[in-house]
Amino acid sequence: MKQKAINVLTIISLASVTLVLLPLFLENSPWPLSARNYLELHGVGDSGAINLVSAIYLGFRVFDTLGETIVLLTAVSGTIGVLTRAGAVLAEGYDTSGTPALTEQEKKVIMDDHTFTLAGEKRRSHALRTHLLEVVTGVLGPVVLLFGFYLMLYGHLSPGGGFQGGVVTASGIIFLALGNRIGAKNPLIRASVLDRIEAAAFLLLILASLSGILMGRGFFGNPLQDVTAIPAGYIILLNGIIGLKVGAGIGFLCIAMVGREIS
């Protein structure tokens, strides 16, 4: 009986969502072309970047980027807080007799925040553990990091930019962490280092945004527009800062979710 009511409610909600969205998905009016025409003629001259998408999210619509960095900061700190300390404090008084208790062997697993590999190779199914993962990802890790930095710094001339380079750098950090052998201490996969890189990049972003005011161009204005012959230097700086922020933030998120046993 209850299941039937739930089914009827599901069908009613699906039908009402379809009714609301159908005109939106089916409308056929032509796409307004005024933005594209303006950008085709003046985009390169206004900001100095050949890649127009970089010129948009760092020049014309830079407040969206600022909001996105704030959302990333909030999401990363919220996730880490829920996963580790704050979550454990909340769960103190709850009766957890329903959950299977952690055995002693499981509790000894990954208490070290450097590596993904298990301490002393104690694993439930260590027949599947080969060295293939460590060798391949350990060698590919720096290559992917290099590619991420290339995308960040050349984002104004070819496809790439801050967000793209940042997420590829985060993938490189995951590779480095997967390929790490027990006992090797790589500072780039430690949670404290990534934490500080993200906070420093956010501070640099705020400083770079205020530097336009000193030269009389307003908030997030380009201070190099009239001074030097390369106004794209500001775009390169902003791309690098955003790439570092996104890369360190998402890398920290991944390492916190995979590398540490949550007790």
């Binding site: 699906l14 969502v17 998905f25 056929n28 933005a35 085709e40 890649n51 969206d64 996730t79 329903g98």
Partner: protein
Amino acid sequence: MIERILLLGMFLIGFWGIVSRKNLIKKIFGLNIINNSVVILFVLEGSRAGSSAPIMEQGISNIVDPVPQALMLTAIVIGVCISALALALAFRLYKATGTYNIQEIKRKVHNGF
């Protein structure tokens, strides 16, 4: 035209996943599907306006509209942040109640564990 109907279908599949599946992880899958479908819709609509990629090298003309692409970059990164936070909350619920089933969780919370 038919692409947009397929994208509406994908949105409805994601919505059905959120509403009718009882496992928490399946609900998060549904969130991801909805996010994906809206991003594809914007990029598809923006690319109708031209015929070449928005990198203004020498002699490129009639580019696609670059504004929806710039907006969707932000949307994709925020989507993965939403997934990560939702997964952290689901993990905490599992540790506190021992199951991912939303009806079991509701019953346990209501009866005071």
